[in-house]
Symmetry: C2
Subunit: 216 residues, 2 copies
């Protein structure tokens, strides 16, 4: 293993451990030494990559943003839906994604930039919706950026409720219900009839991107 590869693996191991500790203890209560012993790395290795707890949290949030995007779809509304479904799938299966979402919603992680994920997702979804608008897929009165904000914020609440009620087991059903309620107000009916928002489709996307549960 070349040196750089090892560094990448160490960094990932530290972030994975930090994700677990933040999830168990909350951002504020978590300590660097707990993360150290969970990661099984030396203090020197940790501080080589991250100089503080805040940087660890930012690292997790950043990791979330580096996920493979959905390949281009002809229908941009479908691409938005697929982006949302894939994120829901990852939330069910990837501890790092879960930790990232929780950090953004953690009231106590005050020193972490919690706007990051909201603006990041708002930008991604907003850009796709602008393309959808340009292709004539949206209803004429719709503002792409406003609809993107509503979708991103609602999704944050849907995942919270799903986590509290079923530990994410019902997440894809709840996302499906959300999309059935939001999309008809924003998307042309003739476009909507061809859009797949089913939980089964979420699994198909994960297969397409060759993400297997727990293997990411």
């Amino acid at each position: 293993m070349v040196k750089q590869e090892r560094a990448v693996r160490t960094r990932k191991a530290i972030l994975t451990a930090a994700a677990r500790i933040f999830e168990e203890r909350g951002y504020r209560a978590a300590t660097i030494s707990e993360i150290l012993s969970a990661a099984g790395v030396t203090k020197g290795a940790l501080y080589f990559h991250f100089s503080s707890k805040e940087e660890l949290a930012q690292g997790i949030l950043h990791e979330q943003d580096q996920q493979l995007p959905i390949p281009d779809r002809a229908c941009k509304v479908q691409q938005v839906v697929d982006t949302v479904l894939l994120h829901a799938y990852r939330l069910q299966h990837d501890p790092m994604v879960r930790a990232g979402v929780r950090l953004s919603l953690d009231q106590q992680a005050g020193e972490v930039d919690r706007r990051g994920p909201f603006t990041h997702w708002g930008d991604i979804i907003g850009e796709l919706l602008e393309k959808a608008e340009a292709q004539g897929e949206l209803l004429p009165h719709i503002s792409a950026s406003e609809t993107a904000d509503v979708l991103v914020a609602s999704f944050a609440g849907i995942q919270s409720m799903s986590q509290v009620m079923s530990d994410y087991e019902d997440l894809l059903d709840r996302v499906n219900a959300l999309l059935r309620h939001l999309l008809p107000s924003a998307v042309l009916p003739s476009v909507l009839t061809a859009v797949d928002i089913t939980p089964a489709h979420a699994n198909a996307i994960a297969d397409e991107l060759r993400i297997s549960p727990g293997q990411e």
Copy 2:
């Protein structure tokens, strides 16, 4: 002041102090002794009302549920909207309501029943939507309980995003955008034209119920 009245005031003072400490420190990091000194009551008085930190949190969540409901409206969809707008208004102005919402979303408040507020609000909105359905205000395919769940969950996310982005300053605008996106998928257009979802209407409701900012 009769004895019972004093007990009610002491209980309220303790809950208000607990709300502030939970908000500042998070549920897990907060201690009873911090709450004691913030409330300015004796240990004996606190333990007379609440035997643990968990009971304090449940007390705050319960307090939230005791808020005055919206008076009956002829249009049940308007009553749903008014309930949502009033909650948004309270979230902007009442620290106890803010603390309650944050507790329900606090990942670290594991021992607290965080389902409570979701099911409580789901029940209130669900019951109103069933009446709306019975009055023929909803589109025929709509399930009142599913739409209630979507609305409650989305609202939770909208308030999170508003808190993170603007410390609740833009909350009524975001709620307005959410309602513009959700209601057309669930409510008969002829009903919707008469429904007021504006931020100005939220202030009018607060006036109607004689809630003045910070005076609750």
